[in-house]
Symmetry: C2
Subunit: 427 residues, 2 copies
């Protein structure tokens, strides 16, 4: 059974999963794998084509069970979301749409939403853009897929990602036929001098590296833009949770610094609002915009109109800015509690990786302890957190095997100290 | 300027458009074309890859201006949609979601919606399926794209479409690298004996051929399934508006007749409800389901949850069935008015193509009148309708050049007679 499973993986055939969430750990018990393997019986039907080129590996994914202490990364707290305001805006949108003649809509996204996003990112992130530069997407995942579609020549284009990366980004690139290479990252972010010269697309998370949390330093930012300019490469800047900044002054986005129209800036409302919304966007350079819009049109024509219009009103009326301010305070308190608990209980056992923003932070264990073993023990004790190895190709690499990530989007502030105390006791 | 335009077309580079709708006619005035060509200045940036393989042509698209008498095809009347019920169900959904922990959702679609769709199509179309067979998509367009993704080997797979076809279907196949061939259709639907033996995917609209409106005859249906079985090919059955049937008894869906798991059945709520919703689905055979779900996950992870849950409740509580009954009556009256007007004013000038279902019907002009010239004159007189040539590769082919389609989704019953009278006067 495991041989068949490996075969499927190596061939790039992929497994459905009923839930969604983070990536299957090597340490998942065999019983949880069972469900995935069952689906394989008819998988080799000759009528199906693989979803990637031969040899590209795409991991099957299963959702971990919810835990008592939930440190999963990339998920926001929706309990403080103003659903009453959202409902009012949705109702108003619906009343307006009800008076209009049915039609298909703009693949680039509703004008009002692009207007609102442009103002928002211009103001909060100094990303210079107008509504015309914005392409609305179904979350960051569709942005990855559409950019891969217009930038990757299957089997030829080299795409560089960080050594530790968001798996769905890499998979979108593989699915488009890219040759994906990883580039070492250190405490200044991606080591730009290690990017292969043949890379034509470079994917980075400069505000808050996923998953380590480090910010890309200003010299590295300049170097990356110089690389792109010199090599006629493009940069995909994924700013997935940079709205939440707790210390230091924000560094300029790559998009802001860019003078060569090299940068695609991706934003999402999955972290600042909620993932069920499925709305994100790309700020695209002028030369690529038409192709990007056309790729979206070919993919699914356009996004649902009601959600886009409700979000447009939500932003325009200041609710997004207000919500981010409120959540920054709430997440900030959790982050402080987490840092204090890690210092209190973990001193000498683990070291926090410096991070000033986002919904999670990471730490490395001392003394050769393997993080994935800790994660397994923690799961049995009702604590869910991912090992950094889940976000790397080589789980044994230095700085990977001993890493843990702590999301604070879901866990209550008062739970944090106890959970960390119990976790450290498991080391 | 026109040379540049042709070059872009021939290279498969594609043009953004601010609105959406039907395909640009050869007869569009140059001033309307201007906007599209302007976007081309930076199109040849070497960083962009073409969206199709070399030589594949994708038409740029522009939206016609709304007309006084609007016979556009493929658009439903939303003025009778029970938006108050929808609002109530959306509110309820939102209240429930507000109590849940944030998470990403099932790429296959919300369970409740798949349940509801399975019951609905089992009952209304005798399409035998359960919730597990359904994959929810962002409208039929995403269904086309995802099926192309899992069935087409770029540069190799031959996909057969009807001689007259829905352009977005063909484009999704081209964008996946398919070799698309057209197969003659007559008054029994696709001429199955003319399908090239090397075709591995055959796309048909058997309930209501798009755009001619004919139903595929039972012998042709049997022959097509036999072809698929014999050649290990698959059939994509697009049942875009088959819920609206006005005469005769419904023919079995290909999916219902299929005994070899050859058929993918696509349904959409863009016609029965409204296109802004962006919800459709595929009933997929078991061997392809996991790959299809994984392709959706790679494309955009999953659809927006609120709209899916609201639709699930809308169907489960019987509102969809009620709405379809109501609209069938309303569209039926318009169809009768249209048939009467065409008989009254057009006798001897044009001939209606027999059609028992859907939101539009088609007719052919007698005496060598070119339909596109008529369409241009009609537009100047405030009447919008598409020539059949807009849905064909060869606009001069017999049965194409003299064809017109009449959508009755948007036009009021009492407008129809006058509009047809004025139209015939232009012949």
């Amino acid at each position: 059974m495991l041989a068949a499973y490996d075969l499927l993986l190596s061939e790039g055939y992929l497994l459905a999963r009923p839930g969604a969430g983070t990536y299957v750990a090597d340490t998942l018990p065999a019983s949880r794998r069972g469900r995935a393997t069952k689906a394989s019986t008819a998988r080799r039907d000759p009528r199906l084509v693989p979803l990637t080129l031969p040899g590209a590996d795409l991991a099957p994914t299963l959702q971990p069970l919810p835990a008592r202490d939930d440190f999963r990364v990339g998920l926001p707290d929706v309990s403080a979301f103003p659903f009453d305001i959202w409902r009012r805006l949705s109702d108003r949108t619906l009343r307006r749409v009800a008076r209009q003649t049915a039609d298909y809509a703009d693949p680039q996204g509703q004008g009002a939403l692009r207007e609102a996003i442009a103002k928002h990112v211009s103001f909060t992130r100094a990303v210079g853009c107008t509504a015309g530069d914005i392409v609305v997407t179904a979350g960051a995942q569709q942005a990855f897929g559409l950019l891969a579609r217009i930038l990757v020549v299957p089997g030829r284009t080299v795409v560089a990602v960080e050594q530790l990366f968001y798996p769905s980004l890499r998979e979108a690139m593989l699915a488009a036929g890219a040759k994906v290479v990883t580039v070492p990252t250190d405490d200044e972010g991606m080591c730009v001098d290690r990017i292969p010269t043949e890379a034509r697309v470079v994917c980075v998370t400069p505000s808050h590296q996923f998953p380590t949390g480090v910010a890309m330093s200003p010299p590295r930012r300049a170097a990356l833009l110089a690389f792109a300019r010199a090599r006629n490469a493009v940069v995909i800047e994924d700013d997935y949770d940079g709205e939440f900044r707790f210390a230091g002054r924000p560094l300029d986005a790559l998009q802001t610094l860019d003078r060569a129209e090299s940068v695609f800036y991706i934003g999402t409302f999955s972290k600042s609002l909620f993932p069920a919304l499925r709305l994100g966007f790309v700020v695209a350079p002028p030369w690529a915009r038409a192709a990007l819009v056309r790729a979206r049109e070919l993919a699914d024509w356009h996004g649902p109109v009601l959600g886009q219009e409700a979000l447009a009103a939500f932003i325009a009326e200041g609710h997004l800015a207000r919500h981010i301010r409120k959540m920054r305070k709430l997440y900030g308190a959790r982050r402080t509690a987490l840092l204090e608990a890690l210092a209190r209980h973990g001193a000498g056992r683990l070291e926090v990786i410096r991070s000033d923003a986002g919904l999670h932070l990471s730490a490395r264990l001392h003394g050769g302890t393997r993080a994935d073993a800790v994660v397994e023990r923690a799961a049995a004790a009702g604590i869910t957190l991912p090992p950094l190895s889940r976000f790397a190709l080589d789980p044994h690499a230095p700085g990977v095997a001993n890493g843990l990530a702590f999301g604070y989007g879901l866990i209550a502030e008062q739970q944090i100290d106890g959970a960390i105390r119990r976790l450290v006791a498991l080391l």
